[in-house]
Structure formats: C-alpha cells, structure tokens
Point group: C2
Chain length 214, copies 2
DNA sequence: ACAAAAGTGTTGCTGTTACACCCATGG
DNA sequence: CCATGGGTGTAACAGCAACACTTTTGT
C-alpha cells in the first residue's frame, strides 16, 4: 500500500522586527487566488532534505544547506482530491532574502497578518509557527543564528524578540543580558539608515551560544 | 509517484529513575535477532495518530488518546528492500506499563544500555531521544505529566530528572523549587516499599504547570 | 534646535546554590 | 540498634526587574 507524500516548505525570516513567512499564490483550482505553503510531491528518489533545498532554490535562486523538521499532517481528508500525507520542512533565513527579488508568485507575510490560506495550510502554519516561536524563546542555540546570520543591531534583534515573545522588554536589561553572556561580538561598524542615532552592528558569537537560554 | 510510508512508534517511560524505551525483537531477515522500533506500514486509510494508538494497543492492550511527533526519516537507502519513508510517533507512558505483562516479543530498555538495533533505528532513537530529553529539561508542560500521570515521590522524580539532565542536584534545592512553584499536590499518602523512611506521594498540579521551566 | 532612535548604571528583589543534621521505617 | 532512604532551614551569591537621563545622527 503506497501513499502520496507532499513536502511543504515553510520559510521564515525576521524582517522589520516581525516574524515573516513565505507563501505562494495559488493560480489553479481549487482555492484559486488563495495563498499556500510552497511544496511538491515527494518522489521516490528524493529525500525530504533535498526536496526542501530544491524548493528553496527554485523560489529564491539561493542554495542553502540545512533544514528543520516541522512535523507530519496525515488527516485523511486534508486534500479533497486524494489522500496526501504532508511532511513539513522549515528553512529559516535572514532578511536579505525578504528584500531580494524572487519568483513573482511568492511573497513574505507577517505571521500575524496572513491572507486567505488554501487547504489546511492555515492550521499547519499555526502549529509549526508555535514550535518555531518556542524555539526562539526557549534557547538561543542555532535558530537565532539562522534568523541573524550576519550583522544586526541590538534594537533590531530586540524588536523581533519582543514580537515573538508577545511583550516588551526593558532596553537596558535586554542589552545587559546579551552582553554579560557574551552572545555577540561588536563588529565596529554602525548602521546609518534613516533618522536617529546609528546603532552598533553586532554578530552572534557562535562559540558562546551553546545551550544558553533567554 | 507514490511512496511506501512506515509509522514507527517509540514508547518512552520513566522507571527506576531511568528513561526507558520499548523495543521489539526482530524474528525475520534481515537483522534477525536484532531489536527494532515497533511499527507498521501506513495504509492510505489511516492517520499517523490512529496508527500510533493502534500499535500501542496491540503491544500493551491499553488504549491511549494522544501521541507526539518525532520527525521524518527519508534517506533513500535506509531500508535495503525498498525506499521507505519513516514517520516517527512518540507515546510517553508511565511505569505501570513497564511492569505490566505485554506481548512477549517486546521489552523496555534503558536508553543508555540498548541492545543491537536493526536498520537505522539506532540513529532514529538517538535523535528522537535527544528531543525528548530537551523537552523534559526545557519546560514542565505536559510531557512530565505523561511520565508521571499519577502519584510519585519527589526522590523518584528527582532520580529520573537527574538521569535525563546528566548530573545530580541537591535534594533540598530540588524540593524547594518544586514546592515554591506549587507544581505538585501532596496526596497525603506514603510509599511503603522497601527499606528506609517512606516517601510522601505527590501528584502534578496540572493547573500550575503552564509554561514553567526547571 | 529639534525630532528620532541608541546608549548607559544603580538599586532592590527574587531565585539559586551550598551546606549538615534529624526523622521514619524495616530488619 | 543500626542501616537505609526521606525530609528540613539558613545564609551567601548571582541573575533579573525597575527605573530616567544623555548621546548621536538627520532634517
């Protein structure tokens, strides 16, 4: 007995202090005009990882080298056409991708302001996003690095963190905690975008992030 | 294009302060005499959840009503016979099950002292166990309740916790933290098994466990 | 010079660690 | 009465929360 298996790729990025997710506009029926998680049927010669990386490349033209698991959705009627098991892949990327020119059927959305979503993808996004948020809040380890692989300012990072956490934090205390744990390295550079005093650009110190919690 | 999909069920339990896992002895070839994670091919009329619950029932004769996701393993050559995607289901149970008479091809093992394991199941156990340990350590929420659904003594819980954590903790401080967070309710009962002073039996206070960390 | 955003220190409080002795039971 | 495991309190310390003003830039 065999099953149809689709691999759905949820791409997350931090942009403007918001947690954003990449969706694809559906042109065909059913759910024409609705948005969906990009994906493909998994053929018998492809691993989940390869499929996820290829999907990402098709959309963004960028090659990444890792992915995370987002679970399995196997309800019998989740697709009207035929029973299809969805396995979820998650790729976390940085805001360069959000600002980059991509395929024009795709777009990033704030996870708190989603458009009309096709199939059970709304439910999938909700569950997977909850997991991702927990990972961001629960421990620094590697996932934050994926959101901020290169330089960022502390206020920028803090806005994102507060957005995920769902409440705001005192600037001084936030900074202090980051600093005393030696989580970041001062690059010496400054931002100069827009009004106000420029912020110092930091980079995560990979060697000091193991197992630390916020 | 369709795929063979197997659902593998990893059952965890806390017993004697150890994290234990249920395995099944393999009688057929290949890997005759090796132990494996119990599982079944997923047919097109069954959800992962139903399959996991049925597998558990077949082995223990007990009906449970929940399961957790343990990820997907999709390497092309993970089974020699044919390409098979493994989706992992996790059920956490209590030590009553460990002591209960079960089907005689299955047995619980300390996760730190496993027998010879068939296929890639060793690798699967390792990855999934790491996740489960992180959940136990990271936050109380619901997973500890599954390990200790009914009465337990603090020393018993502490031994298990230390085993998962990989180091020991001062008894007084452990007790204090549990108490000040009102995580448990004194049942008024005592244990009387074996030598030494009997321990007080507690039960988790479900209403006070939300989002607390250890 | 003013608006906008970044940066900085101190104090009280709360939770964590370290540590040694007494208590209840079974043999 | 002794061996075994369970239960308790206190004091030093570290991490966290609360709080207001100064600095740097663009306009």
């Amino acid at each position: 007995m065999e099953n149809k298996v689709e691999n759905l790729l949820i791409v997350y990025a931090a942009d403007g202090g918001l947690l954003k997710i990449l969706l694809q506009k559906n042109d065909g029926e059913p759910y024409k005009g609705y948005w969906m998680i990009p994906g493909e049927e998994l053929d018998s010669k492809t691993t989940q990882e390869d499929s996820a990386i290829n999907l990402f490349k098709d959309i963004t033209s960028v090659t990444v080298n890792g992915f995370m698991q987002g679970g399995v959705f196997s309800d019998l009627d989740r697709k009207p056409e035929s029973r299809t098991i969805a396995i979820i892949s998650v790729i976390v990327t940085d805001k360069e991708i959000v600002e980059m020119k991509m395929r024009d059927d795709v777009c990033f959305f704030d996870v708190n302001e989603l458009p009309k979503i096709a199939y059970d993808h709304g439910e999938i996004i909700e569950k997977v996003t909850k997991e991702v948020k927990d990972k961001i809040i629960g421990n620094y380890s590697n996932i934050l690095l994926k959101f901020f692989p290169s330089d960022f300012t502390l206020p920028e990072f803090q806005k994102f963190y507060e957005n995920v956490l769902g409440k705001s934090i005192d600037r001084r205390n936030f900074r202090k905690k980051i600093m005393t744990q030696n989580l970041v390295i001062d690059t010496g550079e400054k931002t100069s975008n827009g009004t106000g005093r420029p912020g110092t650009l930091y980079r995560f110190d990979i060697s000091n992030m193991k197992g630390k919690k916020l």
